[in-house]
């Protein structure tokens, strides 16, 4: 009853590694002269005996495992130690039908223990032979004590590894529902019909896919459609339509035994079905008569009802997937000796799988503006993590030089980038509804009603035009505007997120990043480099903004990865008091190998003041400045005090952003009726700010207090403004005067 009784001794040469392995085996089992037997041309086995510690009353559930189990340690003659040894039972009567964690073998092969999930070879590469043999002992102990299934509440499915010829892609739930509810195609046969396809790549079938159940009532329509498609032979469909045949036990009998006999040919498969109450040949002839056999490849699934939920799935059915290749003469010409293949089941890629594998809980509907190299990365990161509500707006086409950094490939050259990316995402999710994957092939400035479909706008255009358009647009209340760009030749990534109710606004944040050059070394380097940079290199596909430039794809991917993570985390921010974000990712290669870091600046809402003179200008003060000014007014009262405003003006949006103030420069003098703002050292201070911010941030206006609560410009103020207007026009900047009363800020702006 032992396999080893019929195996011949091996007399050939053994590698040093195998000799060493045999020595370790002999020491472990205390066998002075181990036998080495030929299993087949490529493998040898060493018979050993495991001592199994049994419970006092014998093996649990009466499983036929003894205190001494004869086993075979299998070694590959050519590949050991790069392929793992296997532990086989030497017993021909090993109770394989009752045990999980066995590889699926044929009757005449020794039962092979499955010791580890995933690759046994990878595992063996990390452990010693002694530990490997220990695990074999643990397996037998667990088998004898009913502990092979770690979760006894679920059924461990059959291990088909090593027996698979091709793949069959379908949703488990799709087949499970039909089988569980006994939805038969015709009443006298426990079977259902599904439609799908042979997936083709370069003319070859690489997998079968099953997409939908076909009830008898819909069969004719589906059949006619398939026939029509099949006639269009000259067209590349990417798949040949086929029907899949699913069978189940007519009595819904529960089967808790593992398959011990893998049907190798049609005769054995018929026997397999016959034992389960089904005449397979007659069933296939019946389907053939109906015209349901349209291809030579016939995917056939048998559903075995298990006593418990199958591990990894949502139901009690385990599906065994077969493939028959019928002869051209049809089912009637099938011979019992014709070979049968096993297929492995694979769940199609779906939103659920993508979200699970990406650990992504929320996928808000997102409109991506810009599908360039950076945009394409963010879009696909989002799509791959299960977001199926994605709009992509870009009017550009894929050009050869885009291949440097873009996520699209050469087959998409010439296509609109938004469309090509949307098509790819739809192909990812063939089993899901992708109606909300939208391509908008126009410029962003034509966007209007589209905004209402989304919760996020992600702008990767690095375009001031687009930013100004979005600033001017009345966006729906629930939408959040994000902007991402790469600066300083890839050394810096800048990511901005607007705050609640669009405050701070995007322009506040973009300009604030420049102002922060006064505090942050990385930003300072960027701003100073930007000011000195001569545009000598060709800016390919990244727009003409100074914030984009030539760089390698890997650098772009680094920043893209960071931006994508920020996007996924920003979703969790509490919206009620959501602050804005300026995030800075840095990749510094100035000292050789790259050094990376990220910094986040939370930005509170700005104080927004409108020009009291009705000029249409708006002044936006960074958080905290208002309080400082009001305090100054109170502190110096009854005398006036004042100083200058530090910030930037935008004529396009008619906005002045104030990020800082300078109080009472040297030479200033305040009285109860007026304030003289001095200049000593002030130009140098302003110049220093301008220098480190790349000439972006500087002097932008005057402020002074009216402690006596005069809520308008004084006559003297108006005269001064008139003088300043002339001076400022030469810069040019608008003239901004900010009056601070005990309880209010008043601004006056004049171009």
């Amino acid at each position: 009853m032992l396999h080893s009784n019929s195996l011949q001794p091996y007399a050939g040469e053994l590698s040093v590694e195998i000799q060493s392995a045999i020595q370790e085996i002999s020491q472990y089992f205390e066998i002075p002269n181990p036998k080495v037997l030929i299993l087949d041309k490529r493998r040898i086995v060493v018979p050993v005996t495991y001592k199994v510690s049994l419970p006092n009353m014998g093996a649990v559930d009466g499983i036929n495992i003894g205190e001494e189990e004869p086993m075979l340690i299998q070694l590959s003659l050519n590949k050991y130690p790069h392929t793992a040894p296997f532990i086989l039972s030497d017993r021909k009567d090993f109770p394989r039908a009752w045990l999980s964690h066995l590889y699926f073998t044929t009757d005449d092969e020794p039962a092979r223990l499955c010791l580890v999930r995933n690759s046994p070879h990878e595992w063996f590469a990390t452990i010693k032979m002694r530990d490997f043999l220990d695990v074999g002992g643990q397996w037998l102990y667990k088998a004898a004590t009913g502990q092979l299934d770690e979760d006894g509440a679920e059924f461990d499915p059959t291990r088909l590894e090593g027996n698979i010829s091709s793949k069959h892609i379908y949703r488990y739930d799709l087949i499970n529902e039909v089988v569980s509810e006994n939805q038969r195609f015709v009443s006298d046969l426990p079977a259902a019909l599904f439609v799908g396809g042979q997936l083709l790549k370069a003319g070859d079938i690489y997998a079968y896919q099953t997409n939908a159940a076909v009830p008898f009532i819909a069969f004719e329509i589906v059949h006619n459609a398939i026939v029509r498609l099949s006639k269009e032979e000259d067209q590349d469909h990417g798949a040949n339509p086929v029907f899949t045949f699913v069978f189940w036990d007519p009595d819904s009998a529960i089967d808790d035994l593992y398959l011990t006999s893998r049907p190798k040919n049609y005769g054995q498969l018929k026997m397999f079905f016959s034992l389960r109450g089904i005449d397979l040949h007659q069933a296939l002839l019946k389907f053939e008569g109906l015209g349901a056999i349209t291809r030579l490849g016939l995917p056939i699934i048998f559903a075995i009802k298990r006593p418990r939920k199958v591990i990894g799935y949502k139901g009690n059915y385990e599906f065994i997937n077969f493939l028959i290749i019928s002869p051209t003469g049809g089912i009637g010409a099938l011979d019992d000796s014709d070979e049968i293949w096993l297929q492995s089941h694979i769940e199609p890629f779906s939103k659920n799988i993508a979200s699970y594998l990406s650990a992504r809980k929320q996928t808000p509907a997102t409109l991506y503006i810009g599908a360039g190299s950076l945009g394409s990365k963010l879009i696909l990161h989002d799509a791959r993590s299960g977001n199926l509500e994605i709009g992509i707006c870009d009017d550009g086409k894929m050009l050869p030089h885009n291949l440097t950094r873009h996520e699209l490939f050469a087959d998409q050259l010439g296509q609109n980038k938004a469309q090509a990316l949307a098509d790819i995402i739809r192909q990812f999710y063939s089993a899901d509804n992708t109606a909300k994957i939208a391509a908008i092939k126009s410029s962003a400035i034509y966007l209007d009603s589209e905004f209402q479909h989304y919760q996020r706008i992600v702008d990767t255009t690095a375009s001031v035009q687009v930013m100004n358009f979005l600033l001017s647009k009345q966006l729906p209340a629930n939408i959040r505007y994000y902007k991402a760009e790469i600066a300083d030749e890839g050394a810096l990534g800048l990511f901005y997120a607007e705050g609640y109710d669009r405050n701070p606004r995007m322009d506040d944040l973009v300009n604030l990043a420049c102002f922060y050059a006064t505090k942050n070394e990385k930003l300072r380097t960027w701003r100073m480099n930007d000011a000195q940079r001569e545009v000598t290199s060709l800016n390919v596909g990244l727009g003409c903004s100074s914030t984009t430039s030539v760089m390698a794809d890997d650098i772009l991917s680094f920043h893209g990865g960071i931006f994508s993570r920020i996007l996924s985390k920003a979703v969790t921010q509490d919206s009620a008091d959501m602050s804005g974000i300026v995030a800075v990712s840095s990749l510094d290669e100035t000292k050789g190998f790259p050094s990376i870091s990220t910094e986040y600046i939370e930005v509170s809402a700005f104080e927004v003041l409108n020009c009291k003179a009705g000029s249409g200008w708006e002044v936006r003060l960074t958080s905290g400045i208002k309080e400082i000014l009001l305090n100054n007014c109170k502190q110096y009262a009854p005398k006036e005090t004042g100083g200058v405003l530090i910030g930037i003006a935008n004529y396009k949006t008619k906005t002045i952003h104030v990020f800082d103030i300078i109080s009472e420069p040297q030479g200033s003098h305040g009285t109860c009726s007026g304030f003289v703002r001095g200049t000593l050292g002030l130009p140098a201070e302003i110049d220093a700010i301008k220098k480190v911010t790349g000439d972006v941030i500087g002097y932008i206006g005057e402020w002074h207090t009216h402690p006596m609560n005069l809520k308008r410009l004084s006559a003297r103020d108006e005269e001064t403004i008139a003088e300043l207007v002339e001076l400022n026009r030469t810069v040019p900047i608008p003239t901004c005067a900010l009056i601070v009363t005990p309880d209010e800020l008043l601004v006056y702006v004049q171009e």
């Binding site: 510690s53 049994l54 419970p55 006092n56 009353m57 014998g58 093996a59 649990v60 559930d61 590469a125 990390t126 452990i127 010693k128 530990d131 220990d134 695990v135 002992g137 643990q138 102990y141 004898a144 004590t145 009913g146 502990q147 006894g152």
Partner: protein
């Protein structure tokens, strides 16, 4: 769910056993934690503290056992109690306790006998903690039923009276199914001793007044038979066992409760002769042999929690006692000595999986890495003399 287990620690002449139930409930029977045992690098000394901590659960970052049973107050059964177990109001468990890995005992099992005689600091600490808890219950304190304040009285009173706390008491003949405020359906404990007669006797002796109990496991709650019966005898002697037999049979608990049957038998008093007879006597008491005849089958095992048993006149462990046990077992290998399992050079706890078909010894479960291994402190902590 994982199988229940019983773990017998190698603590020399002493007892320390951990019962882990299917639902994770942990019952520690006695302790012998020598100072700094968790820092030992000598492979000959099993690091029982480290193993114990690895075997316990944490609640809010703090180690705890559901039930701590002290069979009696001798040092070899409670060594290290004072330093390793938390005593006091559980609400005051602090950072220092956490750093010292002090174990919270959700429930204590307390024999009034322990209260009577002082022999060591650990026993005294156990007594103080028990009295703290008893006071809470006596005064009906609102926190009395919180984990860390629970207590169960085992056996009868002696000089001090706890009659007002009888609702907390279990006496010989009782079957306990509730552990740490939770009912168990597949596990119970049958209390055999201590008897009233011992506690009232003037020449009372701690060993003969040990808590003796039978741990009973079922594979399923609806089953009438047990898949494992494990006897824990503390340091009980032959006179106690004679009475256990007499009482159990008198009340028919040998039949109705299978209260004398066993699959695992922890040899009382570290395999000393006192289980078989007085040390001055060479013959063997028939009642002791009869107790061993209740082994349920040929796979039944005796565990001697003691030093290595050698052929000399030491007692305990006593070589002739070992011989008597082996006579009652189906083979010599059914007698297990904690000091030499799996080998004398590096003893490890003896662990039994309680399967549906009885106890089985689990093989080693850890697998080392060959790919990135680094030496432990073993070799570095050993003095190597070279020529």
């Amino acid at each position: 769910m994982a199988n229940p287990t019983i773990k017998y620690y190698p603590v020399g002449n002493g007892d320390m056993s951990l019962i882990t139930l299917e639902d994770g409930t942990r019952i520690l029977v006695d302790c012998k934690l020598t100072a700094k045992s968790d820092e030992s690098t000598d492979p000959k000394i099993c690091d029982v503290k480290k193993d114990l901590l690895n075997s316990l659960q944490k609640r809010s970052g703090n180690y705890f056992v559901d039930v701590f049973i002290l069979t009696h107050g001798d040092r070899d059964h409670c060594h290290g109690f004072k330093d390793n177990f938390y005593q006091g109001d559980p609400a005051k468990y602090g950072q220092e306790d956490r750093e010292e890995n002090r174990i919270i005992m959700d429930t204590m099992w307390f024999s009034p006998m322990i209260a009577e005689q002082y022999t060591n600091d650990d026993e005294d600490a156990h007594q103080c903690e028990a009295e703290r808890r008893l006071d809470l219950h006596r005064n009906n304190h609102p926190d009395k039923d919180k984990p860390g304040n629970r207590i169960k009285i085992i056996g009868y009173d002696s000089n001090k009276e706890y009659k007002d706390l009888n609702h907390l008491r279990a006496v010989p003949g009782d079957v306990v199914t509730r552990f740490n405020d939770k009912n168990q359906e597949t596990f119970s404990i049958f209390i055999h001793a201590p008897f009233k007669i011992h506690l009232d006797s003037p020449d009372k002796d701690k060993n003969s007044a040990s808590i003796v109990f039978q741990a009973r496991f079922k594979a399923y709650s609806w089953k009438s038979d047990f898949c494992c019966l494990a006897m824990f005898g503390g340091d009980s002697d032959h006179t106690t066992w004679a009475q256990i037999l007499e009482r159990t049979k008198r009340f028919k608990n040998d039949v109705n409760q299978q209260a004398l049957s066993w699959d695992l038998f922890l040899a009382p008093h570290h395999c000393s002769w006192s289980f078989f007879n007085d040390t001055s006597e060479d013959d063997v008491q028939a009642t002791s042999l009869e107790a061993l005849d209740y082994a349920r089958n040929r796979e039944a095992k005796v565990i001697a929690s003691s030093k290595k048993i050698v052929n000399n006149d030491d007692n305990p462990p006593y070589a002739d006692a070992k011989k008597e046990y082996i006579k009652k077992l189906s083979s010599e290998d059914k007698f297990l000595n904690t000091a030499v399992e799996p080998n004398e050079s590096a003893p490890e706890a003896i662990v039994f999986d309680i399967t549906a078909n009885g106890p089985a010894r689990a093989p080693k479960k850890t697998t080392g890495s060959a790919w990135a291994s680094a030496g432990g402190a073993g070799a570095a902590g050993t003095i190597i003399t070279q020529g």
